[in-house]
Amino acid sequence: MVMMNSFLVAGIGVQNWTYILVGITFTLYIGIAIWSRAGSTKEFYVAGGGVSPLANGMATAADWMSAASFISMAGIISFSGYDGAVYLMGWTGGYVLLALLLAPYLRKFGKFTVPDFIGDRYYSNAARLVGVICALIVSFTYVAGQMRGVGLVFSRFLEVDINTGVIIGMIIVLFYAVLGGMKGITYTQVAQYCVLIFAFMVPAIFISIQMTGNPIPQLGFGSQLADGSGTYLLDKLDGLSTDLGFAEYTEGSKSLIDIFAITLALMVGTAGLPHVIVRFFTVKRVKDARKSAGIALLLIAILYTTAPAVAVFARTNMIETVSNKPYSTMPEWFKKWETTGLITFTDKNNDGLIQYVANKDKNELVVDNDIMVLANPEIAKLPDWVIALVAAGALAAALSTAAGLLLVISASVSHDLIKKMINPKISDKNELVAARLSAVVAVCVAGYFGINPPGFVAATVALAFGLAAASFFPAIILGIFYKKMNKEGAISGMVIGILSMLFYMTKFKFGWFGGGTQADWWFGISPEGFGTVAMVLNFVVSIVIMKFTPEPPKSVQDLVENIRIPSNAGEATH
């Protein structure tokens, strides 16, 4: 039936389909934003505190799954095989930490932001300020990447200039983040989750049926090929990979200790990311916080367990389409992506054939990670509306995450800086104005970075996770599970954690402090995995310093005992 439909409307074309689907979804988001606009700071920061666990789970999932999850992840796995598991386990395992160690207690604590918790638990504005700085660095790094993703989709599918694409994205986000605050964002994210998961699953299911006859991609990529040869798809891909000189797909090439460190850093970083944590402030009760963490992970896992299947399908399809084939016979999608510069072919031996091999001197084809998901439906020759759907899904993923991050930025400025540190007497109405203004400024800064991406964006994404792992995570965990932890310990731990992370990243990514190569990595751990080391350092420093400094006051110790008990959570307050 679906195939019938697509056949009947085949004449419309990919581009018009994209206009239609993107137009419908954008109208929907704006409609929701107008319906759910915020009237108080409480609605602006935590959506009024009455979001149901299901809605919060969906919103958290959309918030979390960014352009990186939707567009880049399957592509990265596609090119790195087994090693891609660091992202899969790292970006889902963190939710177990969130549900078991953080979300219920932070909800009971009942404030608006993460620096709020740090500042109150460690009875110090210095701690609060460290929290604000970390939250801003992490969120700005992320949001620039999202805007870039928006620009990329617009430029490829609607054939507008990449900068125009960024500006259109900015206006949309500005509209519903500024108007609706957390309340508007929450309900648009619910809609965006539906759009993005549908857009990710439809092509995956189509291709799974095409290649293996199994409609469930999670099973399909472990099945035999549909051609009746009796060969397993993964065995075939292992064979294709080794024939071209690559490592076996299911083996990977990173060292065990590095895989271990990166996975742990990503897990802990996930659990320490402020835009994820604040989502748990929006539900009514402590038990709702636990439940919505479970729902969020379930909804995230639908995409994350499909991504490795998509990676295998796309890699196999791509190798079969291009390897040793004449350049002149390449399909239309190949040429279209060439114009964006994300596929480049240089015929080194002038034989007119495409040599795609591991050997860098002989390899003639460079394919960017980011196009595997976007081009996948075209490579598999799926109907036009499916291709357009992927574009709408990628936009939903990028916009929902961007909006969540912008809210963290504006709350950090209007609530943590202005209300808590600069002008405590500010009225609720004026604080709301300040929150909206900081959201506007944040969108403009993000848009600037989207149009003029600094060279270090890719490098700093890992830095964002490392920073969250090295700073927030130990401070929050110790704050909940170690009653005697005091401000001296926590502040020195956070500062040492962040600084060591910054040192290692800048040394090996930007060549500061004498630089260094892979051979110089400490214990063989890459900068991406160093968050784990910095986190351990934070814990050790915090505990040692605490032993030599005064205990926290009785009122703070009582606060810790109070957040451990789930009842009487009350409502989020100033």
């Binding site: 598991a85 386990m89 177990v96 078991l100 299911t250 992970l297 367990t305």
Partner: protein
């Protein structure tokens, strides 16, 4: 008396957390990373087992772990009268 109750509640909570975190570690860092090569000797359909844990199985277990925790804690809250 009230303090004592809170202490017992906290102790049981920590026990649940430790058990679940142990499983969390075993499926991801254990089966998916440290013992991956050993597990890859076994196959499940077209999947080598270590590869499957790293790219599929660990995530399924994560989801189950959270819902088990939700269930255990809801029961514990009731037992101590902390439910709402």
């Amino acid at each position: 008396m009230i303090k004592n109750k809170a202490k017992l509640y906290w102790k049981e909570n920590i026990r649940y957390v430790l058990i679940l975190m142990f499983i969390w570690f075993i499926v991801s860092f254990g089966a998916g990373i440290i013992f991956k090569d050993a597990l890859n000797e076994f196959k499940m359909g077209g999947f080598k087992l270590g590869f499957w844990f790293a790219q599929q199985g660990s995530m399924y277990v994560f989801v189950i772990l959270i819902f088990v925790y939700v269930h255990l804690m809801n029961k514990l809250d009731k037992k101590y009268g902390y439910d709402e």
